[in-house]
């Protein structure tokens, strides 16, 4: 029987929402890892059954990391710290922000973006990781600064076909990419504005606070970025970026998701005054022309003034047919759409604030 699964990482633990293939009605498991911040979750669909991964931190006891090979029934936390800085760095892991399984042509490879700014790579499906030394040794690293959320490497985009290529994004630091398997990295921020910088320093080589970058596997050189003030598209894998904001009520926000079947369709959730959803409406903005124009959709979403922002990893899509789209908010609600964002239905309510969501349809 088909299982639809949404991993919901919240400020107070992990919640698994389950449905059947229809994805119309959902039930939630009890909270796992209660009182732990589940900042990063992932569903490794290269495995059968898929491996679920979760990482985060508590306020006192440091980072945690666990995985499940039985779709959430039991969890394994490796005895040896799976993600740890080498002694020579004299650095301690603060938090994992992103777990990203690589494409199917790199079996076993999983990346983790962490705080402080660093990238780790696993070759055993996420049971152990090694620091990507090439990025750690980058001469720009001392100048990467923490954003409001921390000194985080929050986005990892492995190339869908070329294992030598990968892109990361950091707050702050911006976008960097490698073409040699991580040995060397180059900034890729040309055209992305730092709106809060002095006038003559608004387009630096690096240092931007890029909140999220997304791509479609069929068009890997086309990227969309939600910046800290600015929505951008690149057609050359980050070589240059162009603002694509027509129709958006605000160019500030966190998530950016490309439709899994339609490379021209992309979703964003702009934030306005007070970092609340624009006009205090719970509304998702969609472009069907690669960002040239945007329109808001809120059918099925709360109509009252809404104050639950959507964080950078709290929006995702599954690979079902039709594609399922999901987002969670800081007031503990998760919604799903099965019609490309035209209308939405609830998945979960009354959770703690949602930090991240990932979804899959498991045959």
């Amino acid at each position: 029987m088909t299982l639809a699964l949404v991993m919901i990482g919240t400020r107070k633990g992990l919640v698994l929402a389950r449905s059947d293939g229809s994805r119309r009605t959902w039930s939630c498991d009890e909270v796992r890892f209660p009182n732990q911040e589940a900042y990063a979750v992932a569903i490794d669909e290269r495995r059968d059954p898929p491996r679920l991964l979760v990482a985060g931190s508590t306020g006192w006891w440091g980072p945690f990391y666990a995985y499940s090979d039985d779709v959430g029934a039991t969890w394994v936390e490796p005895e040896t710290a799976p993600i740890a800085f080498p002694a020579a760095t004299e650095t301690a892991l603060k938090r994992v922000w992103q777990i990203q399984p690589a494409p199917a042509n790199q079996p076993g490879v999983v990346f983790a973006g962490v705080e402080p700014h660093a990238l780790f790579r696993s070759d055993d499906g996420g049971e152990s990781y090694a620091l990507v030394e090439g990025l750690w040794a980058h001469p720009h690293r001392p100048e990467w600064r923490p954003g409001n959320g921390g000194a985080c490497l929050h986005t990892v985009l492995p190339h869908p076909t070329d294992p030598r290529r990968c892109l990361v994004a950091m707050s702050t630091g911006g976008v960097y990419r490698t073409r040699d398997g991580g040995a060397s990295w180059s900034p890729a921020n040309r055209g992305i504005e730092v709106s809060f910088a002095p006038d003559d320093q608004r387009f630096p080589e690096y240092g931007q606070c890029v909140h999220k970058v997304a791509a479609h596997p069929d068009l890997p050189d086309r990227l969309f970025a939600q910046n800290h003030g600015g929505v951008y598209r690149s057609e050359d894998a980050g070589g240059a970026w162009t603002a694509v904001e027509t129709g958006l009520p605000s160019n500030f926000g966190f998530p950016m998701v490309v439709h899994p079947r339609h490379p021209d369709t992309v979703f964003a959730v702009p934030l306005g005054e007070g970092r609340f959803p624009s006009s205090e409406r719970c509304r998702v903005y969609r472009s069907t022309d690669a960002g040239q124009s945007w329109e808001g959709h809120d059918r099925g979403l709360p109509e009252d003034p809404y104050h639950g922002a959507v964080l950078r990893d709290a929006m995702c899509a599954d690979r079902g047919d039709p594609a399922g789209l999901y987002f969670g908010t800081r007031v503990g609600e998760v919604y799903a759409s099965l019609d490309d964002g035209e209308s939405w239905m609830p998945v979960a309510r009354h959770l703690s604030d949602v930090l991240t969501v990932r979804a899959a349809v498991v045959p």
Partner: protein, 96 residues
Amino acid sequence: MSPRLVLPAPLRPLAEGSAQLEVEGTTLREVLDRLATARPLLERRLRDERGELRPHVLVFVDGVAVDRGSGLETAVHDGSEVFVAPAVSGGRAAPG
């Protein structure tokens, strides 16, 4: 009788529910090093990969906060109480 490690409730599941463990050692560092071998998940909650106490972990040896004394080099004895507590903000002395 070894030093006695006293755990707060959130960490007891990593010690099969025990509130106290006897761990050998003559300094706090030795106690935690032995804990790292016997119960690495539990030790990881107390120290980071550099071997330093996590910023919001308070340890008292026989009633004295180690961060106001000799830190990990604090001497422990047979029967010493090594009491672990989560710090509230401001509860830890400023470094240096």
